[in-house]
């Protein structure tokens, strides 16, 4: 049953890619920079564990890169690392509290922005540093707002499995 839940999370992640390309990318014109895929990957890592975050991030990033990416593999690398390290941070013993989630989203959004700029810079694709400063302020806020929509959906499935005893069964 846990596998079914993770499969549902994976389907949710694929839906996030479609929604990102159909809707959120258009809002970027108004400086609303939402990365729902990153938020979903972090959510999966929080509720399912780091390794699932890592694999989901890799698959989602690779799909996104294949669909629209200029350099294939950049999103896959960034999302998979975000997923893995979210899982590692949570496994240290942080509780699943809203302020922890906010900090995670904030940290990984900033890290992704800096890393992607660095990677593109390494490949001689320069970017506007003034725009980067603005993005470092706007993007985390937008992602934190969307987190309040994504995390409850991911959490709902996880809590339901605990309610009906699957977690208990797994422990046996």
């Amino acid at each position: 049953m846990k596998i079914l839940l993770r499969f549902a999370h994976f389907i949710f992640l694929i839906a996030c890619i479609v929604i990102q390309l159909s809707f959120f990318e258009q809002l970027k014109i108004f400086n609303i920079n939402v990365d729902i895929i990153l938020v979903a990957v972090i959510g999966i890592a929080v509720f399912d564990g780091g390794i699932y975050g890592l694999v989901s991030g890799f698959v989602a990033g690779m799909l996104l890169d294949l669909m629209v990416g200029r350099v294939v593999g950049v999103s896959a690398l960034l999302y998979s690392m975000s997923g893995y390290f979210t899982g590692r941070i949570m496994s240290i013993g942080f509780k699943k509290k809203i302020y922890i989630f906010i900090l995670l989203i904030f940290f990984f959004t900033e890290a992704n922005l800096l890393l992607s700029t660095g990677i593109y810079y390494l490949f001689s694709i320069s970017s506007d540093t003034a725009a980067l400063g603005l993005e470092m302020i706007i993007n985390p806020i937008c992602n934190i707002v969307i987190m309040f929509l994504v995390f409850p959906l991911l959490k709902a499935g996880s809590e339901r499995s605990e309610e009906i005893g699957f977690t208990y069964k797994d422990q046996i």
């Binding site: 159909s22 258009q26 669909m67 294939v72 896959a76 725009a131």
Partner: protein
């Protein structure tokens, strides 16, 4: 499984994924067509759901676009009124010139320019980052669309097809940092390149600093593009930078096409 072994297994998977990603990034950067087949497959596979979702969210994104437009409405109306007055005045003059031009062409044996074949398409996706600005359309190779073809709408040039899969295609917008289109200034007939940039603005490059350029000059596509037909409207000159000690002027262009409102486009088959 013991926690140490599980942790080691996770680290191995992480390292493996990082190595795969770095390899893919390097190959993709060095040989941009290495993943074309996979990219085409991904586009085709997601096309039906992408098309439906885009239509579903279209009213919401239009609503946001409407809010932004509302604030500049009064200025825009005044500008359009002035433009309309000028266009009406020029219209009858142009009709007469066209008739005269066609008659002269016939007289000296040059073919009268025919209209190009087009493929109507719907926009089904959008991707806009600092490094790229692209839209996805629902027509591909099966409809005769190939890489390099120009994409237009009723306002002018939208961009160029960069990847055509069998059922859908990626269009690189004019604002994309890698976009580079041969252009001509309508009034002076000077040639330049219209290029996107990472600050999401569009510039007309390679216009010599001693060339006369005026704010408001209209840009059209040049006749030297392989697939892009000449005389398609691109935009108008918005700002001319000071070019002290520079060989070329820095000219900012305001495109005629509103990229945030793209819905229906035409692919010019050339």
């Amino acid at each position: 499984m013991a926690p140490e072994r599980k942790s080691l297994k996770n680290i191995i998977i992480l390292v493996l994924i990082i190595i795969i990603c770095i390899t893919v990034i390097t190959v993709s950067f060095r040989q941009s067509d290495a993943f074309t087949r996979f990219k085409s497959a991904a586009l085709d596979y997601f096309r039906p759901v992408q098309e439906k979702t885009y239509q579903l969210f279209r009213p919401v994104s239009s609503f946001f676009a409407g809010i932004k437009d509302y604030f500049g409405l009064r200025d825009k109306l005044e500008k359009l009124r002035q433009e309309n007055a000028l266009i009406t005045k020029d219209y009858s003059e142009n009709i007469n010139l066209k008739i005269e031009n066609d008659a002269l062409r016939k007289l000296i044996g040059i073919d009268i320019r025919s209209d190009y074949g087009t493929v109507p398409a719907k926009v089904i996706g959008y991707y806009n980052t600092k490094w790229q600005s692209e839209v996805l359309i629902n027509k591909g190779k099966s409809d005769g669309v190939v890489e390099g073809m120009a994409v237009v709408n009723e306002d002018g040039l939208v961009g160029v097809i960069v990847l055509a899969s069998s059922e859908s295609s990626s269009v690189r917008l004019l604002s994309d940092p890698q976009s580079s289109i041969g252009a001509r200034i309508l009034s002076s007939r000077k040639l330049g390149l219209v290029e996107g940039s990472t600050d999401r603005k569009i510039y007309l490059n390679y216009i010599a600093s001693d060339d006369l350029v005026f704010k408001g000059d209209i840009l059209i596509t040049s006749e030297y593009g392989q697939y892009i037909p000449p005389e398609i409207l691109i935009g108008r000159i918005k700002r001319i930078g000071i070019a002290e000690q520079n060989l070329y002027r820095q000219i900012e262009v305001e495109p005629f096409v509103d990229f945030k409102k793209l819905e229906h486009v035409l692919v010019i088959k050339g």
